[in-house]
């Protein structure tokens, strides 16, 4: 059973971590909360059968983040310092700085929109979930998810345009 859960963990840990990281003030908190998500899921996995693991994990992640903010009333701005990046970002130092600045810009904009819009954007455009999958997580109809996504993108666009012209590159 643990071996199966190991596969589940491998499959979802990065997505769940990223989902949480985009909502909390630091890498350490994201790690703690992500551990909590998988610990809770493992307990449930041992006791019952989970029909839709992906939906279950995201639901637990949402509750864990909500619990965190219930305890922590003060919301800080997330910094990308200490975030590990891989892939195409390692070409050069300058590229990395530019990329970090762009990431920071997107992240800040994302942090400013409604939580449900954040979720929709993360699920659809980062985790690449299908509309039916998102509908299952949210417990809503596919139509309302489509409308929600449209509004979420509009909202994000508004925030990003609002940020334009503000120098983001760290000196």
């Amino acid at each position: 059973m643990s071996e199966d859960f190991g596969q589940i963990y491998d499959q979802y840990v990065t997505r769940i971590y990223r989902f949480i990281f985009l909502k909390v003030p630091s890498q350490e908190i994201a790690e703690d909360l992500c551990s909590e998500v998988f610990t809770k899921t493992l307990q449930e996995y041992r006791e019952t059968s989970i029909a839709n693991m992906q939906a279950f994990l995201y639901q637990v992640a949402r509750h864990v983040v909500a619990d965190y903010y219930r305890q922590e009333t003060k919301i800080q701005v997330v910094s990308f310092e200490g975030v590990e990046e891989t892939g195409p970002f390692e070409d050069s130092f300058i590229d990395e700085i530019v990329l970090r600045a762009e990431m920071e810009e997107v992240r800040k904009a994302l942090a400013q929109i409604r939580d449900e819009y954040q979720n929709l954007i993360i699920w659809r455009y980062l985790d690449e979930l299908s509309i039916p999958e998102i509908a299952q997580i949210e417990g809503k109809s596919e139509g309302s998810i489509r409308i929600g996504l449209h509004r979420a993108l509009d909202s994000l666009r508004g925030k990003m345009v609002g940020q334009e012209g503000v120098p983001n590159v760290p000196v």
């Binding site: 992500c34 975030v83 990046e85 990329l99 980062l126 993108l153």
Partner: protein, 257 residues
């Protein structure tokens, strides 16, 4: 801003990934026990299979004079390998040999000596884990934690057995347990996470039983003034639930006899 451009920007956030060592550590804490044992036993099986094959080839070669020099060279290389074995850490290819060699004295020692030998091994595994953590050898970390936890489980089982069956002999063993737990705390500070949680409750309960046994026993004994002070301090610590501290005091008291 075009929708496609916006989506592209959002996808920059793919770069957010958890730290590799954290991922491995958390995985190990969640599912490491069962998965890890499989991996270790496969590793051991592979190693001993290759040793056996090499031995058979060597035996054939050494019968012929022309192959004496290569055989000697093989032995010299064997010495170098042995050096590697003794310095290996959990997760290294040569580590199963070291682990197997360390088990020999435990297996062949008298039953009452075995717990103390297991303590020594657990401390060795903890030292390995500390080295792995300090040198940031992420790949070795799951195996090192698993090895320590397996040893710690055997130690705690042995300790619980001593406390239950012959508490009069348990004080010495308990000192080792307390020491092991102190060293474990240091390693946990380096790792930034808890390890070996499975056996903590058992150990705590066993220490509690032992402290209560010792306190009851000491009540029937005539004590010197100094011993009486220590006895009372141990009792206070036990009432406050600080059983490890009470044990330390009881140990001091036993040394005053």
């Amino acid at each position: 801003m075009e929708e496609q451009e916006l989506k592209k920007k959002v996808q920059l956030l793919y770069g957010i990934k958890p730290r590799e060592d954290w991922v491995i550590l958390t995985r190990n804490r969640l599912v490491g026990d069962e998965g890890g044992v499989g991996q270790q036993s496969l590793q051991k099986e592979w190693f001993w299979g290759n040793i056996f094959k090499a031995g058979r080839v060597l035996a054939r070669f050494i019968e012929r004079p022309a192959f004496v020099m290569p055989a000697l060279a093989f032995l010299v290389a064997g010495g170098a390998i042995w050096q590697g074995v003794t310095e290996s850490l959990p997760g290294d290819a040569l580590y199963p040999v070291k682990a197997a060699a360390e088990q020999v004295p435990v297996r062949f020692s008298a039953k009452d000596e075995q717990p103390m030998r297991e303590f020594a091994l657990a401390r060795q595994r903890l030292a390995d884990l500390k080295t792995v953590a300090e040198q940031n050898k992420v790949r070795n970390l799951p195996s090192a934690i698993q090895e320590f936890e397996e040893n710690a489980l055997r130690v705690s089982a042995g300790f619980v057995e001593i406390v239950e069956n012959s508490p009069q002999n348990a004080l010495q063993a308990s000192r080792q347990i307390v020491q092991l737990q102190k060293e474990k705390l240091e390693v946990e500070k380096i790792l930034g996470t808890k390890i070996g949680l499975d056996q903590e409750d058992d150990i705590e309960n066993a220490i509690k039983v032992l402290v209560e046994y010792e306190l009851t026993y000491l009540e029937t004994r005539s004590l010197t003034q100094e011993q009486q002070v220590l006895f009372e301090n141990a009792g206070t610590a036990a009432i406050e639930g600080k059983y490890a501290e009470a044990l330390e005091i009881l140990w001091q008291l036993s040394q005053n006899e």
